[in-house]
Symmetry: D2
Subunit: 345 residues, 4 copies
């Protein structure tokens, strides 16, 4: 059994890690930390888990954590993570970090969109944790920068096109719709029930910090700069993210060509499901599961490709993907502990 | 008092017409028809209106309807409307039709996307009922083709740009998110509670029949063909539509230029509210009201304009706009009966 | 025109007052206060009201407020209200207070369930603002204790029975289900979107502070002590309250007797709609409106009466009722400014 | 591996059975039937299960089904089930029926509330499938009448009191609030999104067919007739049921006595969680899980007990409980395949 710690277990991503790990047949959750709830039983914070999770939250101490666990998931705010991760690595732990702190190769990009980086020496060795495109690096790495939810939902449908000359790489527009759990458990008027329910809004239009993450990863795949116009929206669901992507096609491209490219690219990838033309993805189909479903359609009149992807933002968009990374690092089948059947409704 | 009939009063658009007209100070609702509920009191179908609406539904008879009413709103399915409208006009009624049957000038376009047209002789005289761009024609016309909800939400933000050479008219993408009431009151699995709640999906991607309506109107404004890539999505709210529009900018365009253009174009239009840069529209702000709120942002990195509009699909997207058209036809102030304050939540 | 001030205008009840008063034909909203948002335009806090409400929030100063307004609505937290109301009354304003501070005749009851009372001398003269049972007192009073939402929804269906010997007054159970806006705009985990959406919970079981309010009013009507068992529940809607009431019947009571009692008691009351047997109320039918709909059924097998009422907790449960009180105090028809047609959906 | 068939697999209860059985380590789902979708892959009806469930729906034929499977779950409408179950039993299958057809011992009760019974000879041998109170009979039986959702949520909190003389058995009131999935997948206006969302309503007040089921089971436990007043309500969530129960206490009963009774009664029952006084259950805590959480509070002023229970109506209220029954019949640990950790949100 692999021994696991979750640092920052009481936010939504942390709690979702706890949920998934509780059912993982090869992992044993031995330690969870929380600054806010130190000393309290986890099941008091999340009564859903009464009788399932018996751990108490403790404060985060690097020695204690790395002494107890082989793998550490850090689900901390940006900037806080980079203060903890180096110490964990030095003490021999393998770390999967869910913040943005280790997602970028270029610390200048991070510093432009986030803040100053205090552990930039680690960026080189960190692997970007999107297993479908980065399996080998993840396997060899001790530190994973687990992707953002929006980048996951955008990069997966776009990746197969980066080398194919089928779409104009300067024309990509990403329009995402996210459930509210992506905003986390911290209180804000923007996540207050009556301000969200029966509402729809865009936010951080062309200014969201997930934009450079999409751009860096896609540019690396393409071997050239790929600029992204990105608009996130908030919709009144708890979980779920739907991303609609527009790109101009280069010449005459058929539905079959697109379908075959997507299907072959993800042939052996258990968590990506390519929908046959005519089917459209729905976030309901992936709720609570680690799937990314991808559909598409060509707008023949404008010669434009429209890709549509759905994920559960807390699973494939965060904690499920983190466990998938752990499986790969530990030499386990990717799907271990992640194969629960999605709900019918 | 203007005497009013609503033909097809028990669908959502019809019932919303009844609601609005009940509070209209210059109009008196004298007759409502329903095939399905003929003989029943309206308040039995919509108990919300008990004590407010005392009319019974009767079957639609052209003589009876035109004999009783000066203005007739027809809220019928496409194709059914064109069977009723000519008779009403012949008998002297003014007609505002909420179906697609009288929205197009070119019957070939209608026939390509809908079905054969049996009253195409009327298309020439019918006015497209978007008052902010078509006021004079509406004023003079006896037949209004009331716009679709998606076209209303897309044309209003785009119209000011059609003659300005600020955006590339071949690059327009319209990504819309709609509440479920747009699907009407007819039962379908697609509007069954558990299949919608906590879900998000695209539908009729690049194939929705509102596409040619947007194209015809915008092309007329531009004096050239304007192709639109259009993707509608369904989100789990009852009312509300948010439309995000992308267009490549021509050269260097500032936020001020865009703001000034929008603000001056809609200077005297009481139902269009232009948001200052930095503000984003939310469907909650227009729920139950006849407003269209428009915000925007320039993606400097890609030199692309992003417009965001919100409407209540049943009000500015259907019945409120229909009453606005009636006001104009009747020589009343546009806002008569339509100035209710939006709800705070 | 009556000049109106709203003190505490930026909470949900305050903002709903602003909404309703904006459409009131005999009232002019001249002044609004907010501690938190002093100096800001109201439409910046509630962008829905852009172009409709042009006032800025100012800090609450008793002289300024009473100098500007004939009627003052105080929508402040309990305890805060009692610090402001005496000064307003002394300066000649009529006050409708939406807190609990002036709802009780017996300050000992208030002090047991709330806190110490610093203006208890005013309790005698204050009128409990439930117009359907207290019209004359409201008419004559300068200070109204506007009822709580739960008490409104429970007292209206029960009041007709208090003197009739049809139900056992010791057997009354009130089971209420409330939308989230009742919890107000202050941030709390209990109103955080993801903690509420798709959830259902009871709270303050047999311990809610609205219990003694129901008991005092019903006991006064009955001329004896009427104990109430009360359980509130939270359901994931923004607006709406449904209350189910159980009481043992005394002897053989028919549906006709119950219906006739309810119908005759509320014969001339424009905001209470008694549903014929077989119909059940739905909060959707009163959303945004000042109605209280009441249905009922007799459980013949247990000889028990079941009453079901619905209100919009922000309208008849708070701000609509407050305006109804103002109308009565000002000698206007009760329904002035409150007759908007409910929405079909 | 136990071979399993689900007859009527495409309704919500059937699909939830498929979901749960797919993850069951000792069971293999070999056959599913659907009248409506015969010939279609299950994953086409429920795209969520693409790649997880590879079965096609076939029509229900008693020989084929009983030839293929050791255990058959019948998830059919009332009356339809009784036409299929006898044939399955004759051919040696063990049957867990999710309809009401085999829940009653007394066919006269069934016939009074449902319709004529054509397989009443089987009622004697059928076991009522509420494992927490009927374990031994379930273990020995070949036919299980799987409980209704409302009865499950009401009987579990009440059962411990039936023999204890702590509550007045003539005073029990059950007030339930259910999510919409309980209404099934069949289209109806009552489950149409816009008619449910943002609404709350009671239905079948004192007339719901689950009433006699509660009464028969509780009466059997008590050894005397226990009448129940029952009101179901519909709330706008997909899954979840909360039941609030009121009963007069006999004499002086403390919180400790009630807690100890509940805790000891369910000491070894893995799916019942008794909440310590001061905690209240929330349907969010059991979403997707087989738990029934029970909280309570004594209203000292009225000397009345208030019990609150929550279940997921599709899991403990239907399909999870059915699998729990199968586990018991097959000699497996009760929790096999049912121990998934609930979601944090």
């Amino acid at each position: 059994m692999i021994k696991i710690a979750v640092v920052g277990a009481t936010g939504y991503a942390g709690a979702e890690l706890v949920r998934i790990l509780t059912g993982h047949p090869e992992a044993s959750l031995v330690l969870i930390t929380s600054r806010q709830y130190a000393g309290k039983p986890f099941a008091e914070i999340y009564p859903a888990m009464t009788g399932v999770v018996d751990l108490k939250c403790i404060p985060c101490d690097v020695d204690t954590v790395s002494g107890a666990a082989d793998f550490v998931f850090t689900a901390l705010p940006h900037k806080v993570a980079m203060g903890v991760v180096p110490g964990l690595l030095e003490r021999g732990a393998k770390v999967i970090d869910l913040s943005a702190d280790f997602r970028f190769k270029d610390s200048a990009v991070y510093e432009k969109w986030y803040q100053s980086h205090e552990a930039s020496a680690l960026l080189e060795a960190a692997a970007y944790g999107l297993p479908e495109i980065n399996f080998e690096l993840i396997q060899k790495s001790s530190l994973i920068g687990n992707p953002g939810c929006y980048p996951t939902s955008a990069i997966l449908p776009l990746a197969p096109f980066m080398k194919e000359n089928l779409i104009d790489l300067d024309s990509i527009i990403v329009d995402s719709k996210s459930g509210v759990s992506g905003a986390g458990r911290s209180l804000s008027l923007a996540a207050h029930f009556c301000e969200v329910h029966e509402g729809l809004r865009a936010y951080k239009v062309a200014a969201h910090r997930h934009t450079p993450e999409m751009e860096e990863v896609l540019s690396n795949l393409a071997g050239r700069t790929v600029p992204i116009t990105f608009t996130p929206h908030l919709v009144p669901v708890s979980r779920g993210m739907l991303t609609t992507i527009y790109a101009d096609l280069c010449g005459d491209v058929s539905h079959d060509i697109v379908y075959d490219l997507l299907a072959s690219y993800y042939k052996d990838k258990p968590f990506v499901r390519i929908l046959s033309p005519g089917r459209v993805p729905d976030t309901l189909h992936v709720r609570g599961a680690n799937y990314c479903d991808i559909g598409f359609r060509i707008d023949k009149r404008a010669n434009r490709l429209i890709l549509v992807s759905v994920i559960d933002n807390l699973v494939k968009g965060a904690s499920g993907q983190a466990v998938q990374n752990m499986n790969i690092m530990a030499g386990l089948p990717e799907t271990t502990g992640l194969s629960a059947c999605p709900f019918p409704v």
